[in-house]
Amino acid sequence: MDPMAAIRETFFQECEEQLAELESGLLAIEAGDSDPETVNAVFRAVHSIKGGAGAFSLDDLVRFAHVFETTLDHVRAGRLAATPETLKVMLRAADILSDLVRAAREGTAVDEARCAALADELRALDPNGGVEEEDDLSDLNFQPVLVQLDGLDDLDDFELTSDPRHVFHIKFKPRPSLYAKANEAALVLRDLRELGELKVACDASDLPHLTEIDPEGAYLCWDMELTTDKDETAVREVFEFVAWDCDLEITQEGAEGAASGADADAEVAALLALVRGADQNDGEPVSAGVTESAMTGATEEPPAAQVVPLPVKQAAKAAEGELKAASPTIRVDLDRVDRLINLVGELVINQAMLSQRVLEAGLARASAVAVGLDELEQLTREIQDSVMAIRAQPVKSVFQRMPRLVREIAAITGKSVRLVTDGEATEVDKTVIERLADPLTHMIRNAIDHGLESPEKRIAAGKPEEGLVRLSALHRSGRIVIEVSDDGAGINRPRVKSIAVEKGLIAADAQLSDDEIDNLIFLPGFSTASEISDISGRGVGMDVVKRSIQALGGRISIASRPGHGSTFTMSLPLTLAVLDGMVVTVAGQTLVVPLTAIVETLQPKDSEVHGLGDNARVISIRNKFTPLIDVGRELSYRASAADPMASVALLVETEGGGRSALLVDAIQGQRQVVIKSLEANYQHVPGIAAATILGDGRVALILDVDAVVATSRVEPAFFDDAMAAVG
């Protein structure tokens, strides 16, 4: 890959992280977090994006980020209160920023009018409104205009005291990390010398006794006096690469006096204190920069453009450095992780094969070989778990996208909505997360568009005007459960039923339980919105959601209370790579039935099995008649029906919530199996979800329970027909 393209790609990846940080920070502030570090984090995020964007000449992005950053800086400095209104504008600005990043990444156009409008809104928040010109002048230095005005006040003083040659006192104390990064103090000193006349004194007082010296430590400190016609920015530039790995003090002779003159103004003093406070957080001395900008603003030509980007870069680097220090991470190509997972899958299978061979060879369980194999098994399991953990990610990455969606839909529908998220740290496989975004988006849309009532109706119903949508995730018995609930009107059952009748999905006289009516919304082509809105799409809502959840091996269900709202519950496997299965025998073949589908297993009795029609059979389970499906015949393993009395029935629940009994010859046991694709080298086989390799090294097929149940219906009932079409 073109190295520049690679760097660009990294920049965009980092942008995504910064945007996520930005949004979560803003949301935290909205929720009442008043920690200055949160504001700083938000500021840094925008700042880093701007810095990077500048490097790639993404002008639109830089311009908008700059306006945004200016506003944030006002918040950071306490000049702008973080009111809910301000935060709404900022959240929308964050949305625009992410649009701009995406546009820059994909090279697409952006809605310039929207950007400009929001940039104006941001500027309108500026407490110094209308000083944009000044702002441009100092541009990326983000120092408050107030200081510059004070500088102007002290203009006379300055002209008297300033000299084109500045004298800087520099105290430079490298830390060990400076040397560890292959920097060299001597080189820095040499560069300084080029700026002007340099007097250097080395302070070796910290140098320990030779026996105690750490060869990689840093003990020397330099005091320098530099007389130069360059300004302080140029001096700081020399330290650009080492600024974070040393203690650096730069003071300018004569600057103190000017500053103290300005100190007379109490406001400036307060401001400086604020800035200093911020510096301590940033670990970057800017306070001198304040006086500097006051001076240049007063005495010399306006700061030249090339000077400007420097502090930005520094701050961006500082922010980056902090991020890295917070959680050391590496970026790894997903393919590599997947390859590792595959290999570990092989290892598990191979280990199982080996154990089986050892048993077959008649070695005693207590023999050294068998014991060693047991240990190996434990190790391989552990490796497998750790490898799976690499792919596991908190659902936060998906949940984070939802607040924006909620804001947008709330704006379109004119509803007031609050989104509450819970359990963001719940971890699940990356593939699951990726494929969760679309169904979740659909469901949140539906919850706001269809679930929540209009503000007037809510008030009329005695509910708070603001609707509540709750998104939560938790681990439950080896699966992840995600719930989307709203406190809206709940499912309007009479209307759902009448629509279903109208669309020919159910018979007009069908007697359906409340649950069954609620489940009607999952039927293909069903849409409760009387008019098609551009939010919830063209009635492809819930059946698509259901299908994508099923494709992930998950289940979705709905619970609704009229007047109190609805809750959609999704239960998903934590990983798509392994599956808990029940290993069964059917007509001499070994099959794996996903454990999640199985409700119970039972031994059919003669009195319970009844014929229904010419070749269908049902089984009575606690006085409820359930279709009995002969798996062997369904998969054409055998022509004649199996004898139920010599078989085992697995009571399974299909995605539609219906139950069927699958007839198999025998149950071999329960096992965690590694899922292998049949499609990779072959193609989809009806009734089979995937394949796996068992301990004996042979391939076993994993049954697609829903497909088998669906195809077994020769004369499907009205309801089941539609369900079969979904599966």
């Binding site: 092989e346 070994t590 393993y637 292998k676 049949l678 080298n681 193609q683 086989v685």
Partner: protein
């Protein structure tokens, strides 16, 4: 012009060959796990070092009738596009190095098999060896539509 290498194998009394670059490995026969609702020439799937490999009974595929498998049968693992497929054949006989012009056009016969699989014939030591293409050995997807 440099020679082209072909892998020759035997099914019943006839000899066939494929481009050696398509052949990944040759294995002894192992029983396959049958796949439901598949054409008769699909023997099933086997475990090839962790990958699920479909086994095509080439005799059945070419219309000679299903093979009675024995331990002497071999599986030729071939690469077709992105997929790896195991071909069940009676025996692998030879590696042939032939020049490009040694391949004669397929004689015009009525056989459907000849038309869809044979891409030319070679005369080697008085034997006739058919060069076959592997593009169509897997069942077409349409027939599998659920």
């Amino acid at each position: 012009m440099s020679g082209r290498e072909l892998m020759a194998f035997r099914i019943g009394a006839q000899e066939f060959c494929v481009d050696i670059m398509a052949v990944r490995e040759i294995r002894g026969f192992t029983p396959a796990t049958p796949l439901p609702q598949s054409p008769s020439y699909v023997r099933g799937v086997i475990n090839l070092r962790g990958a699920v490999l479909p086994i095509i009974d080439l005799a059945a595929r070419l219309g000679f009738g299903t093979s009675e498998t024995s331990a002497r049968h071999v599986i030729m693992v071939v690469q077709v596009g992105q997929q790896a497929i195991g071909l069940l054949v009676d025996a692998v006989s030879d590696i042939l190095t032939v020049s490009g012009d040694a391949v004669q056009p397929t004689p015009d016969v009525a056989s459907e098999m000849a038309k869809s699989f044979v891409r030319g014939v070679l005369a080697i030591d008085g034997r006739m060896i058919s060069l076959i293409t592997l593009d169509n050995v897997l069942p077409a997807l349409e027939s599998e539509a659920a």
